[in-house]
């Protein structure tokens, strides 16, 4: 990200560093002078929130790992030891366990924002693919983290999910045994899950760097879907985006704190305060709320292999979205039909989540199957078809025009101070 750098080292030390390893220059160009569209709304703040949540999870997680014992005999007790005897251990654990829920809440807003504003369209496909990779890594990390307290739900969730692999023809049973490190979920399983749960967040951090790098090359989308065309369309990242992200972050922390301090166990399941017992199956095995829609899809297909394939496809389909959407128009604001289907899709996902929490019986099964069918119809039929039959609304000539509500007059002195070069010419 050199070339059009705005960074001027002011002191001797800065000049000394800048000649040898220009990290301050990189930071300055990425997070201070970096131009962002002037019309970004709060839905665009969730990327920043996610970065902070990742850091928060890593910090609390590293300290928790100092007190936790990954041994099936004492794992449950060691978590209770954290809750009772470690100084502020209850706070660390509640932050970490509710943090994962907040992480997913933020990532779902982030993903739906991307779907709404067409953030996956050319030239941002790689950006989107990296995002789906991050989502997959998050799912794996969260799942393995949920197993660590070694409660009843931990144990049975691990059993259900690892058993899915046995649906693979021919090698399924071998893969399952290999995952378990034995012939059932046990101590070796807990140990490897702990190891991976500690490893994966750092892989997430690595992919986050690529994800951020990618959008610093292409620039962000914005609610109009029209790329910035002049300096008047953009404002510098600092202080504008920094401040707006800060507002969203603090407001988000209010919600986070509400759960941590007043409802710390609301998002969990009581059965996870019962120590794992391979001989007693809980009446309803349910995953954490953020996996419920996928769980509903898994259960909607009557065959085990079919369910596993549908589950896999429901995530993998996100990789295909850039090519399934045939419309050239980015923002749903100018796509009258897609906008409706987008919100229907949101409701369907919430509906799937509700079905996922319900016992699989009677009408819930049929409702789950209908919603699952719609989930795939949305991606494989509606999304490709809309590009051909939809007449997009006229789009503004520029971001500034959309903001001002009239054609932009170049003579106006509205140029934000410090607005810098265009993203296209950078990188």
């Amino acid at each position: 990200m050199q070339g059009t750098s705005e960074y001027t080292p002011r002191t001797g030390i800065e000049r000394w560093i800048d000649k040898r390893m220009p990290l301050p220059r990189l930071m300055y160009d990425s997070f201070v002078s970096y131009p962002i569209p002037r019309n970004l709304n709060y839905a665009y703040a969730f990327g920043g929130i996610l970065s902070v949540m990742l850091i928060s999870q890593i910090l609390t997680g590293v300290v928790l790992a100092m007190h936790y014992a990954a041994n099936s005999e004492i794992a449950f007790t060691s978590v209770e030891h954290i809750m009772r005897d470690v100084n502020y251990g209850w706070l660390l654990r509640y932050l970490h366990m509710n943090g994962s829920s907040m992480f997913f809440l933020a990532v779902y807003v982030h993903i739906f924002r991307g779907l709404y504003y067409g953030s996956y369209k050319s030239p941002r496909e790689i950006q989107w693919l990296l995002g789906v990779v991050l989502f997959l890594l998050m799912m794996a990390t969260a799942f393995m983290g949920y197993v660590l307290p070694w409660g009843q739900m931990s144990f049975w969730a691990a059993t259900v999910i690892t058993n899915l692999f046995s649906a693979i023809p021919l090698v399924g049973d071998a893969i399952r045994t290999w995952l378990w490190g034995g012939f059932s979920v046990g101590d070796p399983t807990l140990n490897r899950f702990f190891s991976l749960h500690y490893l994966l967040p750092f892989m997430i951090a690595g992919v986050v760097i690529l994800h951020v790098w990618a959008f610093h090359v292409t620039g962000q989308t914005n609610p109009t879907g029209v790329e910035p065309k002049s300096r008047r369309d953009v404002v510098p990242f600092t202080p504008h985006a920094t401040m707006k992200d800060a507002v969203a972050l603090v407001a988000f922390f209010l919600v986070f704190a509400w759960f941590v301090f007043y409802m710390p166990n609301y998002l969990g399941h009581p059965d996870n305060y019962v120590e794992a017992n391979p001989l007693v199956t809980p009446p309803h095995i349910v995953p954490e709320w953020y996996f419920l829609p996928f769980y509903a899809i898994l259960r909607a297909i009557p065959s085990k292999l079919g369910g596993v394939i549908a589950l896999g496809l429901s995530v993998v389909v996100l990789f295909l979205v850039p090519w399934l959407d045939t419309s050239k128009v980015l923002s749903a604001a100018y796509r009258p039909l897609y906008r409706i289907f987008f919100w229907v899709f949101v409701v369907v996902c919430i509906g799937l989540g509700y079905i996922g929490a319900m016992p699989p019986e009677g009408g819930y099964i049929i409702a789950g199957q209908l919603l699952t069918a719609y989930y795939f119809i949305h991606f494989f039929i509606i999304l490709p078809l809309l590009g051909f039959i939809e007449t997009p609304k006229p789009r503004p000539a520029s971001i500034t025009e959309a903001v001002l509500g009239r054609p932009d007059e170049p003579g106006e002195p509205a140029t934000p101070a410090g607005a810098t070069a265009m993203p296209e010419r950078r990188g």
Partner: protein, 292 residues
């Protein structure tokens, strides 16, 4: 086209709603518990809730004189009984309480295990040496440890309560369940087959009857609190009162730092509210030169 989509989605919603209702009507298997627990007005509910110290002391007495005959409390050390935000017994009381128990220690210098009176750093001794012995003495099912039982039980709240719970900060499903279970024993209805050694209780979460006989009855315990000179602080010695007190004690045993959590929460939320306002107005100032 627009109209068509609206109509289609409305039809879809109707179909789904009717399926959901059909499923509610045609429930083949009974769902346990047969009766939802009643919501008790706990002193520790809500953002400003605190434990009632006297109630915890009474609840501890119930645990000690009745529950502890079969149920262990493995994760609670005697010293915890002296913690602030708990039963808060004095140091001397905790020492005396602990000394009433005999704990096995060792091995000593000769390699032998020996017995000694309990000390504050010891944990409550379990009534049975191991789970097998506990199961054998109790008709095949080991009585569960009670250390985290108040967080390990809770009845599904259903729609829309599970949403309003977020705003009312309802987290008392555990103690509500314990209270409901202990007060919920009744004669089985006509036609309900209860096996010998099982006791009908529509509040039990996993079946219509459970192996635990009704453990409490009126005046089973004389509360220490009622034995002093002052009649003003006397509490009724009823099954309902015992159940509430022991449920509160078990909530504390499950989460001894709850008071610290809630009081810190108020500080944090107040700080964040002010910070939200400050950042918001700073942001307005920063963006005031740009229409957006």
């Amino acid at each position: 086209m627009l109209k068509l989509i609206t109509q289609l989605s409305a039809a879809g919603a109707l179909v789904l709603a009717s399926f959901a209702m059909a499923s509610a009507a045609e429930e083949a298997l009974p769902h346990f518990p047969l009766k939802e627990p009643e919501e008790v007005d706990w002193s520790f509910s809500g953002p400003f809730g605190t434990y009632d110290q006297q109630q915890l002391q009474r609840g501890f007495q119930v645990y000690r004189e009745i529950c502890s005959a079969c149920h262990s409390l493995n994760l609670v050390p005697f010293r915890a009984l002296g913690w602030e935000g708990g039963p808060h017994f004095s140091e001397e009381e905790v020492k005396a309480l602990a000394a009433e128990y005999t704990v096995t220690d060792g091995p000593d210098d000769t390699g032998e295990m020996f017995e000694r009176p309990g000390a504050p750093y010891d944990y409550f001794p379990a009534p049975f040496p191991n789970a097998k012995a506990a199961a054998y003495a109790n008709g095949g099912a080991a009585p569960p440890d009670l250390s985290v039982i108040a967080q390990g039980r809770g009845v599904e709240r259903g729609f829309p309560t599970f949403i309003t719970d977020i705003f009312t900060t309802y987290q008392e499903g555990g103690p509500d369940y314990i209270h409901a279970l202990l007060t919920g024993y009744e004669d089985p209805p006509e036609g309900e087959d209860v096996r010998p050694g099982q006791y009908y209780n529509p509040h039990y979460a996993y079946a219509a009857a459970l192996a635990m006989p009704p453990p409490l009855f009126d005046d089973a315990i004389t509360y220490a609190q009622n034995e002093d000179e002052d009649p003003n602080n006397d509490v009724p010695q009823t099954v309902d009162q015992y159940s509430k007190d022991v449920a509160a004690f078990l909530m504390w045993a499950a989460e001894p730092h709850m008071e610290a959590r809630k009081s810190m929460g108020f500080t944090v939320l107040a700080f964040l509210l002010i910070l939200t306002a400050l950042t918001y107005y700073t942001k307005r100032r920063v963006w005031s030169d740009v229409e957006h």
